[in-house]
């Protein structure tokens, strides 16, 4: 448990990381460094996108599955690690 906390803290303090969000399967944030409205927005939108991405991957090959999703935009990069029970989202500005 301490290791998890430590790792989370380290992630948050890395260079360029804007925010870290952990939401459970219903979209309720467990851990977040952003404000609630932003968190909920990110969680909702990314959940849908993750579902679509997973559906796409599995449609092509049902034995395959989605493990990681990265969206690179002009301003920053959103990285999503999806799982059955939770979703880990990190927003980073890589070129700082």
């Amino acid at each position: 448990m301490a290791e998890v906390e430590e790792t989370l803290k380290r992630i948050q303090t890395h260079e360029g990381v804007i925010g870290t969000i952990v939401v459970n399967a219903e979209g309720i944030p467990i851990r977040t460094t952003l404000d609630n409205s932003t968190t909920v927005q990110y969680a909702g939108l990314l959940h849908q996108l993750t579902m679509k991405a997973r559906s796409t991957v599995r449609d092509i090959d049902p034995q395959n599955d989605l493990t990681f999703l990265r969206i690179r935009s002009k301003k920053h990069e959103i990285m999503v690690a999806p799982d059955k029970e939770y979703m880990l989202i990190v927003i980073q500005n890589p070129s700082e």
């Binding site: 260079e15 599955d65 990681f68 059955k84 880990l88």
Partner: protein
């Protein structure tokens, strides 16, 4: 309801049977009440009542009359009861209005003709009226042959016929008798036959005593359906005639065409009148249901449905994946890495794919505890991956440079890149005057808060995974000893080590095993040797030498895993751990009921005649030696011959030893005036080795010469570490207290080619070349391991073994 009088051939019998029931139906009509006395049964007229039964007959007639009135009543709904009860000779039907609606008979046969036929039948002197009535009744009802009587008798036999109608039966039987002889008559008379109604007589007293004769005869055969066969057996009698007819017909058909006798003609058939019928029913409620069946949805259902059977195959799949995961579970150090760092996500993704192997199910109502989520292993794994990805984003250019990949500028960060580019252009413009000067570019450094303030004492690459680096932290000096630290760093995470092992005393030596790539041997300041398994997450060493009897009593300055290929005995084969320590022993460690060692060599002190040393003089004077052995500081096994090794002592002597002799040195090279910190054979020239010591010099030796071929000195600082470049034969790196130097003997044997000064206040303590790339790692006393890339370093093509040998040769020649 109309009753049609049809003059029909013998098929009428069929109809008659049907029609027979109708009157009975009529009889049941509530409006028409028939007294039992007037119930009548139709009897075929072929049988005639006897004269003496005229009353009965009349009754029957009456009954038929009443029957007729029944029939009529259906149309006119009037029944004169009187007509039912009382026998009448003339029948008149009156409707409500009193109109005479007596139906006239449809068919008027020739009474004379019929009468003659019926003369036999009607023996009774019936009036013409009755006859006409009779006929009318005949025509009003369908006719029947005698058999009908029997049939009707059977119809009514159940209960309608009273006992009193025995007379009827009699008469009927008489009648029936007749038709058997008069079959033809009955046939011809079928159209004028009439059903007789059975008259139920009142049982009269006098009739009870009568003898009643009952005759039972076989009734006529009923033919309900006669479909003549269209094919005849060849053996039958008719076959000939049939054949003849057939042949005639075929001839006829042949002759038909073109024959004037025959003409084709068309006919139109009537179509049956159609009738529409409507039915109303309750509305059928319908509901729409839709679903999208994805490819994976079907696969999931199939998998979950056939889970029991498919379990075996999926288990093997999962087992194989689990094996893969197990290998990946550590920081992928046992796996081959591709050149691209970006592919790290795909490599680790294969480990996290284990979690998503289960069919994707919509999350159920159970809410997993948030704490459970945070503590789950998958979450840790995801965090681990996420951290690496974040760092990859940050360090991407540096890592790409390390891997010698072209670094691409981020297109979105152009404004920031401009000054960098400008500076680079400036640099390059300066260099354009001549060939670009070799330089070092600092890429990054491995350091974290744990390591700050610690002195880097040794570094070692993993033999199998070239991206894994083990760094040992420990003080060299006797004072300020604090518990040592070993960190295993991965290239993918320069900010936090993958493994952290704390040791009880300062770490002074490290080496990874080649045969079992996860074994790390650690030598410590207190003489302890421990081996760690870096694959596991355990913090404790696998084995420790602290219980060993022969353990080292002084700091272990170097450990090496040496592979003895040519061994004298069987158990020496394989890899052995060799260590040298300040107590003057070079020991070989092996596992036999615990870690145990044997001494390969005891480094004895040798009298040093050439150089005067304070210590040496003192020793000679006092003859009171602290120890008969010289502290060993370093050793190196010959790259090809694992029996020969060099050992360097604190005295400054280099001893060439052999594993076969553990008492004597083969050779001794004496040149250094101070403790030797490092000896290393050249990986390319098997005769050449380098040594560095605290006397500010680096010496290049050749095996057969007892004086160094070349000596290098640049500053007046002790040289802590020297290492040959794994890529070029003429290049080696050295690190002294204040700076790091790269020497290229092909370029200059007097000055280092590249010099990189250390940060102020920090001493550089160790050097390590990266095996596959042009990078150098430098450890310093502040706990930082900096990674430098050699830029613009062209030492020529090939390994330049020839160049080195030329240099040596020319140097020797010049010395002579």
């Amino acid at each position: 309801m109309n009753i049609y009088n049809i003059s029909i051939p013998r098929y009428s019998r069929r109809h008659n049977t049907i029609k027979m029931s109708i009157p009975t139906a009529k009889l049941k009509k509530p409006t028409l009440k028939v007294t039992p006395s007037s119930r009548a049964m139709n009897i075929s007229t072929s049988g005639i009542l006897r004269l003496n039964r005229s009353a009965t007959y009349a009754r029957s007639i009456n009954a038929s009359v009443s029957r007729k009135s029944f029939c009529l009543a259906a149309d006119s709904k009037i029944l004169e009861k009187s007509s039912v009860q009382t026998p009448k000779h003339t029948i008149q039907v009156l409707d409500e209005n009193g109109k005479d609606v007596t139906p006239r008979p449809v068919y008027q046969p020739d009474p004379a003709a019929v009468q003659s036929k019926h003369s036999k039948i009607f023996a009774s002197d019936t009036s013409g009226g009755t006859m006409s009535d009779f006929y009318s009744t005949t025509y009003q009802t369908t006719t029947n042959a005698s058999f009908a009587g029997a049939f009707t008798r059977s119809l009514f036999g159940s209960g309608s016929v009273s006992i009193g109608s025995q007379s009827i039966m009699e008469s009927m039987s008489e009648e029936i008798e007749d038709p058997s002889s008069k079959r033809d008559n009955s046939i011809s008379l079928s159209d004028v036959q009439v059903k007789r109604e059975e008259v139920k007589e009142l049982i009269q007293e006098e009739m009870l005593d009568d003898m009643v004769d009952l005759y039972l005869v076989e009734s006529d055969t009923l033919c309900l359906l006669d479909m003549p066969a269209i094919s005849v057996s060849v053996d039958s009698m008719e076959a000939e005639s049939v054949k003849e007819r057939n042949s005639r017909y075929t001839e006829l058909c042949k002759n038909r065409t073109g024959n004037d006798k025959y003409m084709g003609r068309s006919m139109q058939t009537f179509n049956g009148a159609s009738k529409t019928k409507e039915v109303q029913s309750e509305a059928i409620t319908m509901a729409d249901a839709a679903t999208i069946a994805n490819n994976w949805d079907m696969y999931d259902s199939f998998c979950s449905a056939g889970q029991g059977e498919v379990d075996l195959s999926t288990d093997t799949d999962k087992a194989s994946i689990a094996e893969m995961i197990h290998q990946n579970h550590g920081p992928t150090r046992t796996m081959e890495r591709t050149m691209s760092v970006i592919s790290s996500s795909t490599i680790v993704s294969s480990s996290s794919s284990r979690m998503e192997m289960e069919p994707f199910v919509v999350p159920s109502e159970s809410k997993p505890d948030p704490e459970l989520i945070l503590q789950s292993e998958e979450f840790q794994q995801h965090l681990f991956v996420m951290e690496r990805i974040i760092l990859e984003n940050i360090y991407q250019p540096k890592l790409a440079a390390y891997r010698q990949l072209p670094t691409l500028e981020d297109p979105d960060s152009m404004p920031k890149a401009v000054p960098m580019v400008v500076s680079r252009r400036e640099e390059s413009s300066l260099d354009e005057e001549g060939p670009p000067t070799p330089a070092l570019e600092r890429l990054w450094s491995f350091s974290c808060e744990l390591t700050t303030g610690r002195n880097v004492s040794s570094m070692a690459w993993n033999k199998r995974n070239p991206d894994l680096l083990a760094v040992g932290y420990g003080q060299f000096a006797f004072k300020d000893q604090k518990p040592g630290l070993v960190c295993c760093w991965s290239l993918k995470n320069p900010s936090w080590p993958e493994r952290i092992f704390t040791c009880q005393s300062g770490v002074t030596a490290l080496d990874f095993s080649a045969s079992s790539a996860s074994m790390l041997a650690v030598g410590m300041h207190d003489g302890t040797i421990a081996t760690y398994n870096v694959q596991s997450r355990e913090k404790t060493p696998v084995i420790d030498s602290s219980d060993c009897v022969h353990k080292h009593t002084s700091p272990v300055w170097q450990v090496r895993w040496i592979n003895h290929e040519r061994a004298l005995s069987g158990e020496d084969k394989g890899e052995a751990l060799i260590s040298v320590s300040a107590d003057g022993r070079i020991s070989k460690w092996f596992l036999r009921k615990g870690l145990d060692c044997i001494d390969l060599m005891k480094l004895k002190r040798t009298r040093n005649d050439r150089f005067k040393r304070q210590v040496g003089e003192k020793e000679r004077k006092s003859e009171a030696l602290i120890s008969r052995q010289a502290p060993g500081l370093c050793f190196d096994f010959h790259p090809t011959d694992s029996n020969i090794y060099l050992a360097g002592t604190e005295e400054g002597h280099i001893h060439k030893c052999s594993c076969s002799y553990n008492e004597q040195f083969l050779e001794t090279y004496q040149a250094h005036k101070g403790p030797l910190y490092r000896i290393t054979w050249s990986p390319f020239c098997s005769d050449v080795f380098l040594s560095c010591s605290s006397d500010w010099t680096i010496q290049l030796w050749r095996q057969d010469l007892f004086t160094p071929v070349l000596g290098f000195m640049s500053t007046q600082r002790a040289v802590y570490d020297v290492m040959w470049s794994p890529k070029w034969a003429t290049v080696f790196g050295a690190v002294n207290e204040g700076r790091m130097e790269i020497w290229d003997l092909g370029a200059s044997i007097l000055d280092p080619t590249i010099v990189n000064p250390a940060s102020p206040g920090v001493k550089l303590t160790s050097l390590l070349f990266a095996t596959e790339t042009d990078c150098v790692l430098v450890g310093d006393s502040d706990g930082q391991v900096s990674v430098y890339q050699l830029k613009n370093f062209t030492a020529g093509e090939g390994t330049q073994v020839g160049t080195l040998e030329d240099i040596i040769g020319s140097t020797l020649a010049s010395q002579l």
